[in-house]
């Protein structure tokens, strides 16, 4: 599903050069639930951003669905993200000016030929899947952290992407809420067969996934 070959990422500032990723080779198979672990600053987010086509590697190859992503223009990358990928972030990243259901609709806004009513219907379905159908008209700041993250999951799945990339999705939540979020993702992986790559600091969470990839200082260590 996702294949990284010799991916490197170097951040250059005027004073220093940081090797965030060096010679990373990873294959994520269709339907897998993989977690990525490692200390802070070891390059986990960088890796996820590259997999999510939000950032470009300094060198190396990325293939998604057997398609080599190389030299794609902004429009084409945006289209690819919209069709294939869903993101979940540690700090939720909801738009506070939009209601819950409007937030969930966002990915469908950038999809051609989806009518307003269809958008609404799909957003409500996604919210039902995460158990938030009673809060659709609320605004993000009226919700708890766990509820916000459930909205974020609904947004990530509303367009039925094949891949979900989650960067420390339970990092801001207490263990009970974190557990809830984890269960939703496990359920999603099991019933819908969605491929999930999750960055986490929590061994308990990682142990629930099929495979753990460990990172240290920009390198894969297992």
């Amino acid at each position: 599903m996702i294949k990284l070959t010799d991916v490197e990422k170097v951040y250059r500032t005027s004073t220093i050069e940081t090797m965030a990723l060096s010679k990373v080779n990873i294959v994520i198979n269709k339907g897998e639930f993989v977690s990525i672990m490692g200390p802070s600053g070891c390059g986990k987010s960088t890796l996820l951003n590259i997999m999510g086509l939000l950032d470009e590697p300094s060198s190396g190859k990325i293939e998604i669905d057997n398609t080599l992503i190389s030299g794609y223009a902004d429009k084409r990358l945006a289209h690819m993200r919209n069709q294939k990928l869903g993101f979940i972030f540690q700090s939720y990243h909801l738009i506070n000016d939009l209601s819950v259901v409007d937030n969930v609709e966002i990915p469908l806004l950038y999809r051609k030929g989806v009518s307003g009513s269809e958008r609404r219907k799909k957003a409500l379905e996604a919210l039902e899947k995460v158990g938030l159908n009673s809060r659709t008209k609320h605004y993000p700041n009226q919700l708890s952290g766990g509820q916000r993250q459930r909205v974020a999951i609904a947004r990530a799945i509303v367009g039925n992407p094949e891949i979900i990339l989650a960067d420390e999705p339970t990092g801001n939540l207490d263990s009970v809420m974190g557990e809830e979020i984890m269960n939703i993702m496990l359920q999603l992986n099991k019933t819908e067969g969605t491929t999930i790559v999750m960055v986490t600091h929590d061994e308990n969470m990682a142990n629930k996934t099929e495979r753990v990839i460990r990172f240290f200082d920009g390198r894969q260590v297992n």
Binding site: A78, F89, H93, Y110
Partner: protein, 399 residues
Amino acid sequence: MLKNYIKIAFRVMLRQKFFTAISIFGISFTIMVFSIIASITAITFGNDAPNINRERTLYYRGFTVEGDQFRFSAPEPVFYDQVEKLANVETMGRYIAGQLTSFKNGKKTSIDVVFTDEKVWKIYKHDLLEGRTFTADEARGAQSIVVITESVKKHYFGDEKAVGQFLETTPRLRVIGVIKDFLHIGGVGPEAAQAFIPLNRYHFGANKNPIYSAIIVAKQQSDLPEIKQSLSKLINERYNPKKRNVELWANDVYERNDFGDYLAIMAVFIFFTMVIPALNLVGINIGRIAERRSEIGIRKAFGASSSVLAGQFIAESIIITLIGGLLGVLLTYACSGLVITHIVASNDDVIASNSVLIHWDVIMYAVLASLFFGLLSGAVPAWRMSRLHAVKALKNGNL
């Protein structure tokens, strides 16, 4: 998509209430100020009807000779006949301005009148609503007839036909025509009159030896200085044997209305009205960039391309600008009435002018200009913001 743009535009506007208010107020206020200034300028200096010849017109009222016992002298009619024959004079009208008082239902009304000749109908362009204007023979023949403006007609005769009826003044005047109200700021004689009476009718009043003034229309605007020289020359020949200094009372529209002062006042006014929108634009753009980074990151992550995002932000600024523009038109409409009653219609307190100070073409340009600047102020930050890297946007904009 558009519905979504409008939705978020309104949410953003509500969130930044203060800046939104200033922004909309700034745009609408600017439109209003510019529209009214443009209208006032046109009324004071422009060549709009009825003042179609204003730029090449000289108002001549007489002269003073230094050391003379009488400070001010107006020449005899024969002098004017000479002026009229000057090579670069196209037309010359004669007038005496005055006021007539009348009583209606026991209430006193005074109207600004002008005793004038038939040239006035050529020099100025009036819309005739009823009847006709007077002829050269009638002007010379001192007939007791009058052409009135529509608000004078309304005041005396209501909705009835006015032609054939009489103004109960001394002397009694028969109405032969009604012309449309016209706007003026200050202005002398025919420029500000509410009723036009044949020139020689004046001789039948108290003053047996009237002093009249002349409206001299040059063939071209550039002839005006030469005409003034000719006037001085004629005066020196006729009235100034001792060759003393002569001051000529002949002014074109810019001299009569102190164009320099006017420009200075308007410049100060415009400066202050521009400071508000300028300040606010800066504020809004800073606020937007700071507060909406994460939104940009989010939308990009879920499939918005840079161009789609730029479109969204531009749509937002168009919406705000359009609201300001529409409000500006309403504001102009509302305030022009105030301006008319307090600045423009100086005729009197009883008969107010019905005309409207709105120049729709000016307003249209003002709205177009505000749209243009709204777009510009929206497009530049939108373009910059939309190019923000998704990862950076998400990193810096923790929600």
